[in-house]
Each structure stands twice: as C-alpha cells, then as structure tokens.
C-alpha cells in the first residue's frame, strides 16, 4: 500500500545541506593541527591528520552525490534547484581544497620557514573562521525555509553573511602579509620550494574564497 500523502514529499535537501557544510568545515578545521604538526616537523602526526581530512572529504563527496540524486527535476521547491546545487558545489570545494593543500604539503614534506610561521598560522586560523561562519550561515537554511525566505530571519542571515565577508576580507589581508614575509626570505630558499609555498598559500586562500562564495549563494536564495 502506497500512501499518497507520504509519496507527495520529495527528500528535503535542507538537513543534508546543513550536514554537508558541517563536514566541509570539520575537514578545513583540521588544517590547524595539521600545519602545527608540519611546523613542529612531526610528520607521523601530520600524516594521521591528513588521513582524517581525506576521510571527511570522502564523506562530503558521498553526501553531495546523495543530495544530487535526491533532487530530481520534478521537485517543486521554494527556491530554484540550480541555486541549491551551486551552493552544494561551493560547500564541497571547501573540503576539496583542505584535502588538496594538505596533500601537497605532505607529499613534498614541505617546511614552513620559521620567520613566516606565525603569520602563516594566523592566516590558516582566520581561514578556518571563515569556513565556520559559512557553516553558521548555512545552518539557518531550515529557518529560512520555515519563514518562506522573508522577514526577521532574512535580516539575521544577511548579518551573518556580512560578518562572513568581513572575515574573508581579513583572510585576504593576512594572505598578503604571508606572501610578503615569504617574499622577504624567498631568495634564501630553494626556488622549487618557494614556488610550491606560494601554491600552498594560494590554495588556502581559496578556502576563504569558497566560504565567501557560500555566502554569495545563500544571498541569491534570499533575493
């Protein structure tokens, strides 16, 4: 016996999307202990943390596929399906970049020059903050759905996104600082390593960019 009422409801993407951003954030958060281990030269610990990052990234990937499959074109939703899929894609890239950057550092056993270590860790921490703020914003999705994307809840989310933008701007500034401190010492370092250090900084910066784009995507849902 198939109940008509029960089959009327498609799988809601809301809870899975909130779960997905949480996983993405968890994977980026591990970059803090990862780089601390790298700076301390503890490669066993770094390897172990990298494995956890990869596990999170896989989990995020699986969930992404599941959400996509659960969103057939026949669904009638208060927001366009494409916007949700875009949001999901950007969320997923946070986890992807965390995996990429940790993979690159571990694969080349890269040393972070001591003079830039402090700035670098500051940059990483703020980037993770940006991911955390993205999670906080996406977690409002269920409330947004309940209110039909209008009213007090929209203001609340708009404020969260503004804060996210502020954090992201800060990570940009920190990134410039880290680049500058690397530039100051680059002539004393192995050129190949220097090239890859810039690449690490760039990839990390992309995590902040993705977090900001999560905010942009959410904003689109509000309009």
């Amino acid at each position: 016996m198939v109940n008509v009422l029960a089959s009327l409801f498609g799988a809601s993407p809301v809870q899975p999307l909130e779960k997905h951003i949480d996983i993405a954030y968890q994977s980026s958060k591990l970059l803090i202990p990862f780089f601390e281990a790298v700076i301390a030269g503890d490669w066993t610990k770094a390897t172990e943390i990298r494995e956890r990052i990869v596990a999170y990234e896989n989990e995020a990937d699986d969930l992404k596929k599941q959400i996509r499959l659960g969103l057939p074109k026949s669904l009638f939703m208060p927001v366009p399906r494409e916007d949700l899929l875009e949001l999901l894609l950007v969320q997923d890239k946070i986890a992807n970049r965390a995996k990429d950057v940790s993979g690159l550092v571990l694969g080349r056993k890269m040393q972070i020059p001591a003079v830039m270590a402090e700035d670098f860790m500051g940059f990483i921490r703020r980037t993770v903050d940006a991911a955390k703020q993205a999670r906080k914003s996406v977690r409002e999705l269920d409330e947004l759905y309940a209110t039909g994307f209008r009213g007090a809840e929209v203001n609340l989310v708009t404020n969260l996104i503004e804060e996210l933008d502020r954090i992201e701007t800060e990570t940009d500034e920190l990134q410039i600082r880290v680049r500058a401190s690397l530039f100051a010492v680059e002539s004393t370092l192995d050129p190949v390593n220097v090239v890859f250090l810039y690449r690490v900084i760039e990839l990390t910066g992309e995590i902040g960019d993705m977090a900001e784009r999560v905010g942009r995507r959410l904003e689109l849902l509000l309009s």
Binding site: M1, V2, N3, V4, L5, A6, S7, L8, F9, G10, A11, S12, P13, V14, L71, P72, S74, L75, F76, M77, P78, D142, E143, Y145, A146, T147, G148, F149, R150, G151, A152, E153
Partner: protein
C-alpha cells in the same frame, strides 16, 4: 424474506470490510503529521482518531451517505424491480473494492470515493438504462472533485501566509505564536462545529435553529481555544534546543494547535468517507426492509454506527503501523505547516459533507499541502505524484464503472 436477509447480511459484511479498509489506510493521513512531529504519541493519536472518526461518521456522515444511497441513481425507476438496486449496490462495492485492490498493488493514488461513484454510475447506466443516472447530480459531484482540492489549496495558502506574516517572520516569533495560536484553534474548532451543527445533525434527527447553532459553535470553539491557550502558556522555551533550531519552541506551540486540527481532520474524514462504506448498505437495507426504494426516510443511526465502528476497527488493527510509516515520511510537515494543511482540508471536507458531496478526502489534503507549498512552505514536493493523481482521476471512474457492470450482470444471474 430469506433473500432479503442474505442481502442485508452481505451488505453489512461488505460495508464493514470497506470501512475497515478506510480506517486502516486513510485515517493515517489525518494523524500522521501529529505523530511525526511528536505533538501526539501514537497511542494518543489512535485514541483521538477513533473518537473523532466515529463522531464524524455518526454526527455528520448522513448527508453524503444519502447522496450515495439515493442521489446518484434515480430511485423511482426501481419501483417495480427493487432487487436490481440491491444487485447494483453490491456490484458497486465489489467493483470499488477490486479496483482499490488493483490500484494499491500498483501504487496508484486512487480515491475510494471516485471508485464508488464511478461504480454506481456504471451499473445504473448500463444495467438499468442511461436515464437511471441523475446526471445533473453526478456532474455536480464531479465538479466538486475539482473544486475541493483547489479550495483546500487556496485556504491552506492563505492560512500559511498569515502564519508567516503574523508569527514566523516577526522578531519575536514565540511571543507572537503564543498570542495568535489560540485564535487559530478557535477558527479550527468553530468551522468544524458550525458546519456539523448547521448541516450534519439534521440527518440524525436533531434540529437546532441557525441562531442557536452559531451560538453553540462559538461557545464550543471558545472553550476549546481557552483550554488550548492554557496548554500553550505552560510551554517553556528550551534554550539548548532553541540554539540549534530557532523555531523549536514555536513549533511546540503549533503542536497544540495541531492536535485540534488533527481531530477536526479525523472528524471531517469520518463524515465524508463513511458514506463510501455504508451508503450502499443504507440503500440495500431500505429496499430489503420495505421492498421499495424510499429516498425520503432518514438513514438509521445504527448504520452510521456500523460504518464508524468499521473505521475504528481498521484503525486499531492496521492504523498504528500506517500512521508510524507515514509520520516518518512527512516530517517536512512541521506543526506550523501541517496545521495549515489540515485546517484547510478539514474545513473544505466538512463543508462538502454538510452539502452531501462525496469527495476524495486524500486528494483534498494533497491540494491543501500544495497550497502550503505555494506559500513557499514546503522543502520539496514531488510533482510526479500530482501527475499520477490527475491520471488516476481520469482512469478511476471508467474503471469502477466497467467493473461494476461486470459484477452487476454476474450477481443478477447468481443471486436469488
């Protein structure tokens, strides 16, 4: 006389079986949201459903039963051959039952009401003659099948819009919920009670004047709203769960409202769907007892009670399982959304019951849910199901008709 007893016996067995099926499957639609959102435990839900389905069937089921009994076929034509009406009604049941069985095996969202009406039209038009069908009345019924989901959808849309504007979009949704929800409770109780008093009770022989009906409806609704308001006042916010979900406590306030609308829904369902089970029974009994078709006599109260009991038995045996399964699948229907859908559907259905229109309660509820969806209230609605419902509309009436023609000729040759 012996033959008459066989007819009544067969009719009673068929009727109870049909009512059992309705109780086992369809009542879940009224109660599942309340259970899914934990506003009621499953035990409370079954108890409430049993009470209100029974009350709906007995107090407000008369008009629709009368329509099924004498509104579709022209009873006057059977004056010389009343036994043909008995065969026809039995055939209609078998046809509807068979069709429902086929449909549920294949997962088609078919309506019990549509099957029964199609079946009665079928045996009358072919077995007796085209003129035996009261086509005007049938036309009205078919129009009501289109109008009822649309009406429920529109009402649900308006109700949920008002909930969003008055409560959910405000800075202090909890305070607003505590203030406004008692009014919604009043509205739910008032609509159900008023329609029942105005339209339903005359069929059980109770006559209350219009002025008194309004007065009584206001009094009953106010009493229920006050009890609701007291229950709401006792709800305290849970800061820990609120942090994860701002509307956690707000939804608990709506949970109180939802208990009322779920009861209205069960009442409305009982008032409309009981006719599918006992309308033919009522017809058979009046023929068997008087030897003729009398469209004026009222339906014996015990017949309505048989129908009501059948529904309760179905609910008690299988309802628990169905409510639990459906409840898990419709968690998107949180109390604030579920109540809007239920209130809209219940109001539409009781009005239909009051005017004697046999409609599909399930399709009306689906219309109401779509209305909430149009108010951007539901995360994801699968439109394929809506398409299947539309197809089932077109298919069910001819299918029911064909099957009942078949059964009619078989019965005519087999029964004494």
């Amino acid at each position: 006389m012996e033959a008459e007893l066989i007819y009544i016996g067969l009719a009673a067995v068929f009727g109870i079986f049909m009512a059992w099926g309705i109780g086992a499957n369809d009542v879940a639609n009224a109660m599942a949201t309340s259970v899914g959102s934990k506003a009621l435990t499953i035990r409370q839900a079954i108890l409430a459903a049993a009470v209100f389905e029974f009350l709906g069937a007995v107090l407000a089921g008369g008009a629709v039963t009368a329509t099924i009994r004498t509104g579709i076929v022209d009873a006057g034509l059977f004056a010389d051959t009343p036994e043909l009406l008995v065969y026809g009604m039995l055939a209609s049941w078998l046809a509807a039952g068979t069709w429902l069985l086929i449909a549920s095996k294949n997962g088609w969202p078919v309506s019990t009401t549509h099957s029964i009406v199609g079946a009665i039209v079928g045996f009358a038009a072919v077995g007796i003659g085209i003129d035996a069908v009261q086509w005007g009345q049938v036309g009205t019924i078919i129009i009501s099948w289109v109008v009822s989901p649309l009406t429920a959808g529109l009402i649900a849309f308006l109700i949920y819009e008002s909930v969003q504007r008055l409560i959910l979009r405000q800075d202090d949704p909890l305070d607003k919920a505590k203030r406004f929800v008692p009014y919604y409770i009043f509205l739910a109780a008032f609509t159900t009670t008023l329609v029942t008093l105005l339209k339903g009770l005359s069929h059980v022989g109770l006559e209350i004047s219009v002025a008194n009906s309004y007065f009584l409806a206001v009094a009953i609704a106010a009493a229920i709203a006050i009890v609701g308001a007291l229950a709401i006042r006792r709800i305290q916010p849970d800061p820990k769960l609120e942090k994860k979900q701002h509307f956690y406590t707000v939804e608990r306030v709506f949970g109180v409202l939802m208990i009322v609308t779920a009861c209205s829904m069960a009442f409305a369902h009982g008032s409309n769907d009981v006719a599918n089970a006992i309308g033919p029974l009522a017809a058979v009994i009046s023929v068997a007892q008087t030897g003729m078709v009398d469209s004026k006599s009222t339906i014996p109260a015990w017949v309505l009670m048989v129908g009501g009991s059948g529904i309760v038995i179905g609910l008690a045996t299988f309802g628990r399982h169905v409510i639990a399964t459906v409840g898990e699948k419709i968690t998107q229907l949180t109390p604030s959304r579920g109540f809007a859908a239920e209130l809209a559907a219940a109001s539409t259905i009781v009005i239909a019951s009051g005017t004697g229109m046999p409609i599909s309660t399930t399709h009306t509820l689906v219309g109401a849910v779509l209305g909430v969806g149009l108010a951007r209230g539901i995360d994801a609605i699968d439109l394929r199901v809506v398409g299947r419902i539309l197809v089932s509309w077109v298919v069910t009436v001819p299918a029911g008709a064909l099957l009942s023609i078949l059964f009619f000729f078989v019965l005519k040759n087999v029964l004494p």
